[in-house]
Symmetry: C2
Subunit: 288 residues, 2 copies
């Protein structure tokens, strides 16, 4: 009886239901309250409760934790716990996940799933399927490559200082010959290419030019799965290094981009834009 | 006693713990198993358990629901329940949320929070703070605008057919004079501008040109908060219409982009790229 009460309290605490509220309930009511909360919590992990109405759901207690603000009045950055991972293992998952959930999901879900196995806890229910929206540069729009988008979201989820990791992996995406990793379940070799852009449609065009294959070919689908693997692998290497205190950017912002930013970005004479993307892929070089 | 058993089973089912597994346990063990799961589920709502070690977390049972695949072997699209929302209410939230969590969070968190109030259930714990990564076109990179990225993720979360909604709202982002909504807590009027791009840095540059303000001015911060409000409002209008069966695109893919796609996109003679972004913002027009 005592043990059950303790467990009920532990459950309630985990769900953010006040101790006082549970202590004043009889056990049946406490369990009913908790059941309502868990239905909500369980659903967050991508189960959809099909047999409840909106008004029934409305009666479940609000358990979203309050958003904490930092000194600047911004949402406090509170990453989930990270442990050193095997870059190849995450890359091999990313290859397979890209083929069932597309590019953004490929990278994001693979980090979450590997951490669910290695760490457990929050990663066991962390929703991943929503990241399918990022496919083909946001629902086929050809804007930011889904492997870049998923990598940045994953880095933000787990890194206490995500900006340098994201900078490094995006510059790798732009300037390295990719893909540079052959997943263990690969069914073909892939010609690598250099994107010189963060954008899906540019990356695809450069690869079509290098490989001679078409944008909707089977080979391109495989290429993007190899690319997801390469990006997940590079992300894990950067996160491992950051955690070990040995992180150093191999792909810093190029001098050419820095030169453009000196006038056009923050504090520059013109200050009429922002960003770190390669400039000359779209804009002509010009003499200052 | 019977009621408790029923509740325990309901809790276990919501968490994806097998009925058989719970049925064969005594109540104390069943509650303990559930308690472990809920600790994980609670954490998914952005609470980080600070006083547990990785090995302790590893011992909690795996409760991620199995990913279902559709007939094409892709992750099954299973949106969360949506109810008609007030576009202005979500827009006013987006303005305020942009100022505390930046642009992608501004749009995404506002839809989730409004649905947490109106529907409850899954939205009460759905994690939102991770979307801060999208700020300034993915961590300041100036690639896809965070309001576009957050809108697309939100549309995918709730719409049974997200592509037409995302297409409509991205084309609105590209071709409408924005911002076109003044939030109720606005502190200034904002000069509108046309982005003709999905990209943060292009949108900011066009606005700097139209308004005469700099890219890192207080006015630009306010402008992007008004933009988040406009995008959230347009998204909700499109979702409401889609649910009512009255959705019709006001901003279809322009004929100019269709003309380019005829050769360059899927099934075209060249088929050397993909996407729906405005082409002529970056590429010269050319005669076929």
């Amino acid at each position: 009886m005592k043990t059950n009460r303790k467990l009920v309290l532990a459950i309630a605490t985990a769900l953010g239901i006040g101790r006082e509220r549970v202590m004043t309930m009889d056990r049946r009511k406490a369990l009913a309250t908790i059941a309502g909360s868990i239905t909500a919590a369980g659903v967050a992990g991508a189960i959809v409760v099909k047999d409840v109405t909106a008004s029934q759901l409305k009666d479940t207690p609000l358990i979203r934790p309050e958003i904490k603000l930092n000194k600047k009045g911004k949402v406090h950055h509170d990453p989930l716990p990270y442990v050193k991972l095997d870059p190849d293992a995450v890359a091999d998952r990313a290859y397979k996940n890209k083929l069932i959930g597309d590019c953004m999901y490929g990278v994001f879900a693979s980090l979450v799933e590997e951490l669910a196995e290695q760490v457990g806890g929050p990663y066991m229910t962390y929703p991943t399927t929503v990241t399918r929206y990022g496919k083909g540069g946001v629902m086929g729009w050809g804007t930011t490559c889904g492997t870049v988008n998923g990598m940045a979201m994953a880095a933000y989820l787990v890194s206490p200082d995500p900006a340098p990791v994201i900078d490094e992996v995006i510059n790798y995406f732009q300037y390295a010959e990719l893909p540079d990793y052959k997943p263990k379940d690969a069914i073909m070799d892939i010609t690598p290419s250099v994107s010189e852009s963060t954008l899906c449609h540019v990356s695809v065009s450069e690869w079509c030019k290098a490989s001679g294959h078409k944008a909707f070919s089977k080979e391109r689908t495989q290429r993007c799965a190899h690319l997801a693997a390469s990006m997940a692998r590079k992300l894990v290497m950067a996160l491992n290094e950051q955690q070990a205190g040995t992180f150093k950017a191999v792909f810093p912002i190029p001098a050419e981009v820095k030169a453009c930013r000196a006038c056009h970005d923050k504090g520059g004479e013109l200050e009429n834009t922002r960003g770190k993307m390669s400039c000359t892929a779209c804009h002509d070089k010009h003499e200052v």
